[in-house]
């Protein structure tokens, strides 16, 4: 079974630039999560989708971060403009529904310089 695919694996940008991350969840998984993990900390939930609807984005910095999940499948997370403190690993995860185990991708490591 294919896992959660994320791209790119690494990205280096200058502050104030824009960046987008892509996630392809496991087929049939209704729930999709985006997490931000800063070095040395646990993952922090940014946004959770149930199919193509947002069920939680309380910790998403909406002035600069946006996310969408078209047709309830793939998802993109965008940062515009990026700040130095956005340097982190961005993890995507999916699950059959919110009650079942989540499967994580390998993440995208973002460095903002």
């Amino acid at each position: 079974e294919a896992g959660v695919a994320q791209s790119p694996r690494y990205k280096i940008i200058e502050k104030r630039q824009s960046v987008a991350f892509w996630c392809n969840p496991i087929s049939g998984h209704a729930t999709l999560y985006w997490y931000q993990q800063i070095l040395g900390q646990g993952p922090k939930l940014l946004i959770q989708f149930q199919n193509n609807g947002v069920v939680d984005d309380s910790q998403l910095p909406k002035d600069r971060f946006s996310a969408e999940r078209l047709k309830g499948v793939d998802s993109t997370l965008k940062i515009q403009p990026a700040k130095l403190e956005d340097s982190a690993v961005y993890l995507c995860a999916s699950s059959l529904d919110w009650r079942t185990e989540a499967f994580f991708g390998q993440g995208t490591r973002l460095t903002v310089v």
Binding site: V4, G42, P43, Q48, W98, R99, A102, F103, F104
Partner: protein, 115 residues
């Protein structure tokens, strides 16, 4: 919001049994307890989930006392490859009161297994 407290780090040796305890005093009636493992440069991986008493699978056991205010992850006979960060999560209601089980990670426990 249900919060969890775990030791920041633990050390063990190959072949020993390791028990990591997590406190979750405000756990709600419908909440499940879930443990994830994370290796460097990888996303977290599900280990085990339980509601009460004891759950066992091929890699770990989870012990939950009757009051459910804590839980203990037990790893039998650890090896060097078990060196990782272990997270305890408790099911949480999403904003707006909808029970969409937000996965909230804490700091986790850094387990180091020595030869």
């Amino acid at each position: 919001l249900a919060k969890t407290t775990q030791p920041i780090s633990m050390d063990s040796y190959e072949g020993q049994e390791v028990n990591i305890t997590c406190s979750h005093n405000n756990i709600a009636t419908n909440d499940y307890i879930t443990w994830y493992q994370q290796f460097p440069s990888q996303g977290p991986r599900f280990i085990i989930q339980g509601y009460k008493t004891k759950v066992t699978n091929e890699v770990a056991s989870l012990f939950i006392p009757a009051d459910r205010k804590s839980s203990t992850l037990s790893l039998p006979r650890v090896s060097l490859s078990d060196t990782a960060v272990y997270y305890c999560l408790v099911g949480d209601e999403a904003a707006g009161g909808t029970s969409y089980g937000k996965l909230t990670f804490g700091q986790g426990t850094i387990l180091t297994v020595h030869p």
